[in-house]
């Protein structure tokens, strides 16, 4: 099953299980079924609870908040995550505040889906990974779709939180198979965390480098893991959390080694990886051979032409090089403490 089908099935399941659940967004009705077809079939099966909206990201997010305020579960789709900027006030100043600024907790069951990221030639305003702009807002949780997390579970976790959640969905991931780690690697789950390791147990147990990546970057990280293994004899472990913020850093700790690297598609500067690095430094500094390394896309707009876009976005070779460099540097440094 492809990830898009898994997500579509998850939305069917959510609407089926919860008679007070709504899905709304632009062009989400059948036969169109959303720009990325994630809402396909929903409006036919649940007429009246799947609502198409005008091109009004701010308002549709506000409507989702209003539905949640009145006790419903609301899932809003922002057609391209780039347009979540138009909903920032509703997310940051209304929904995230409302759960906590009235003295006692006011639960809001609200998910805002954001198809995210590049690699499909949509150009500078339809390809960004804007997760970092939403990091650190109390009362606003960030999740990212991953090939290793069943979306029905993830949706349930977001609903269960009772606060507005942004769900970042890497667009390239939609067409990938769900749940598979590919050659040489295997995946296991430790709670919320997906752990990807070499199939060979000796390599899995003592990785040279631990990579932390959100779901959308996982395939590039795994491609790098394979080339590192084959070309450099460097073994890596990949950690993919479903919830990006607030980050459960404690859950990472048992899986960390002496070299840690965060890979993500965001432009550099105040990125999610910096938050991960800080959390890891606070808890595991003495175990590290050096500071957590960050691998991002380049500090650039995202071009449309495929050959130019490839130059900008974080890639498997970039992760490969960064891991190799980090492992070499660590080998040169004296062990800490």
């Amino acid at each position: 099953m492809r990830v898009a089908e898994n997500l579509n099935a998850a939305l069917h399941g959510l609407l089926d299980d919860d008679p007070a659940a709504y899905v709304l967004g632009e062009d989400v009705l059948d036969p169109y079924g959303g720009a990325f077809k994630i809402t396909r079939g929903l409006s036919t099966r649940f007429p009246g609870r799947v609502i198409t909206t005008p091109i009004s990201e701010g308002a549709l997010t506000g409507v989702a908040a209003g539905l949640a305020l009145a006790g419903n579960t609301a899932v809003a789709e922002i057609m391209f995550g780039d347009f979540a900027t138009l909903a920032f006030d509703q997310l940051c100043n209304f929904a995230a505040k409302s759960v906590s600024m009235y003295g006692s907790r006011l639960p809001l069951r609200m998910i805002v889906r954001c198809p995210t990221g590049g690699g499909r030639g949509y150009g500078p305003t339809h390809s960004q990974s804007l997760q970092k702009h939403f990091v650190g807002v109390p009362g606003l949780a960030l999740y990212e779709m991953s090939p290793f997390h069943d979306n029905r579970e993830v949706l349930a976790a977001m609903v269960e939180r009772g606060e507005p959640c942004l769900f970042f969905e890497d667009k390239v991931l939609y067409t990938r198979p769900a749940g598979q780690a590919g050659p040489l690697l295997r995946v296991r789950r430790d709670g919320d965390l997906a752990v990807v390791e070499p199939v060979v147990p000796e390599l899995a147990d003592r990785p040279d480098c631990v990579i932390v990546a959100p779901g959308g970057t996982a395939h590039r990280a795994m491609e790098a893991m394979r080339s590192l293994l084959l070309e450099e004899e460097i073994a890596c472990r990949l950690l993919v959390p479903s919830r990006l913020y607030p980050l459960d850093a404690e859950a990472l700790l048992p899986h960390l080694g002496r070299v840690v690297l965060v890979a993500e598609e965001s432009a550099p500067g105040g990125a999610w990886g910096a938050e991960v690095a800080h959390q890891v430094h606070q808890r595991a500094w003495e175990r590290l051979r050096g500071p957590v390394r960050l691998v991002c896309s380049r500090a650039s707009v995202i071009p449309t032409a495929a050959h130019l876009e490839r130059e900008v976005l974080v890639s498997a070779p970039a992760i490969h090089r960064a891991v190799r460099e980090a492992v070499r540097r660590a080998a040169q440094e004296a062990p800490r403490g």
Binding site: A20, G48, I51, T53, P54, S56, G58, A59, L60, T61, G62, V63, A64, A65, G66, L67, A68, L69, A70, G71, N72, A74, D89, Q90, N93, F94, A96, K97, S98, V99, S100, M101, Y102, G103, S104, R105, L106, P138, G139, E163
Partner: protein, 333 residues
């Protein structure tokens, strides 16, 4: 915005500095403007006075440095939520804004809880976290960002239309709010989806310090018309006139016909604390429209005893709330 404040703002509104005979009157200089007001029901008058004295008390407390932060009083606009009060039921949602004390008091009559909220004292409606402009209680919610509440109200109205037909969402906005794009996105949805949405506009002719003529092209009526939404202008400050005229229109809102009810009103006080830069003549003109001064002129025998009684009650409330221990809260996000 920074403001400095003395008791002058409160005095400017009450006219006390000008040496008027009765504290809380509009001052001796201006003859009341507008036609004679009809005699109010006792409970309406009491509620109007409760809001008036609540707001005056706030300004005095600020003047004495006893309140933290800022506040926006609705002096001069008290009759708007009072006129609406019996037209709204407990099943209706009310979304209020930064100038919302009157809206809250008209719904709950709870001066203790609101003052405790503003003063950060025990018994505060929201633990002292929200303060003057962020209040939530049952189906009442206020928030401080202009225009933001309209899409939320549309979402609430969508819920009501489906799950609780006959109930409505009422959202209070000002003339200045019409500068926000969120207003138009929400009006579009309200009309498209036949939402039971009542938009109450308190057009007091000024957005903070900017006169309506400098921030609003065309008219609010024209903007409502652009969406095919009914617009009802309210020029009167007479609760007994406003209410029956609005009643059938509010009933139509409940059937899914959204309405913009525009009250042309007057803000007597500063935007927040002591930041009134209007020329004195403009302030005097606003005060000449004050329902309070007009009612004192038209019905002195009704007003003054009630005024004394309510003023004393609010003073008692203020003293009682001020003596309470600080509110307690632990961060819960």
């Amino acid at each position: 915005m920074t403001e400095t404040m003395t008791g002058a703002a409160a005095e400017a509104v009450t006219g006390a500095a000008a040496g008027s005979a009765a504290p809380g009157t509009a001052g001796p200089a201006e003859a009341p403007a507008g036609p004679a007001l009809s005699r109010l029901a006792d409970d309406d008058l009491d509620l109007l006075l409760l809001i008036r004295h609540f707001e005056l008390t706030l300004l005095r407390l600020y003047g004495r440095g006893e309140l933290n932060g800022t506040t926006h009083t609705c002096l001069g606009q008290e009759y708007v939520p009072v006129a609406l009060r019996p037209l709204l039921g407990p099943g209706d949602f009310v979304l209020s804004n930064h100038r919302g004390h009157g809206h809250y008091l008209a719904r709950f009559g709870d001066a203790h809880g609101l003052l405790a909220e503003i003063m950060g004292r025990e018994g505060a409606v929201c633990g002292g976290v929200g303060g003057s402009q962020h209040i939530h209680r049952d189906r009442y919610l206020s928030t401080g960002v202009q225009g933001e509440s309209l899409p939320v109200a549309a979402g609430v109205a969508l819920h009501l239309r489906r799950a609780e037909p006959g109930a409505l969402a009422c959202v209070y906005i000002g003339d200045g709010t019409w500068g926000e794009g969120a207003v138009y996105e929400a009006l579009n949805l309200a009309a498209l989806w036949d939402l039971p949405l009542l938009v109450v506009v308190e057009n007091n002719g000024i957005a903070q310090s900017t006169p309506t003529g400098a921030h609003l092209a065309g008219s609010i009526a024209g903007r409502a018309a652009a969406f095919g939404i009914d617009h009802h202008p309210v020029v009167s400050a007479d609760v007994n006139e406003i209410r029956p005229a609005l009643a059938p229109l509010v009933a139509r809102v409940r059937e899914g016909r959204p309405l913009v009810a525009e009250f042309r009103t007057h803000r007597l006080g500063p935007h927040s604390k002591g930041d009134d830069t209007r020329p004195p003549a403009q302030v005097r003109a606003a005060r000449a429209h004050d329902w309070y001064a007009r009612y004192a002129h038209d019905h002195p025998g009704h007003l003054h005893p009630a005024d004394e009684r309510v003023r004393a009650r609010v003073e008692e409330i203020a003293a009682e709330v001020a003596a309470r221990p600080p509110s307690r809260w632990s961060p819960c996000a």
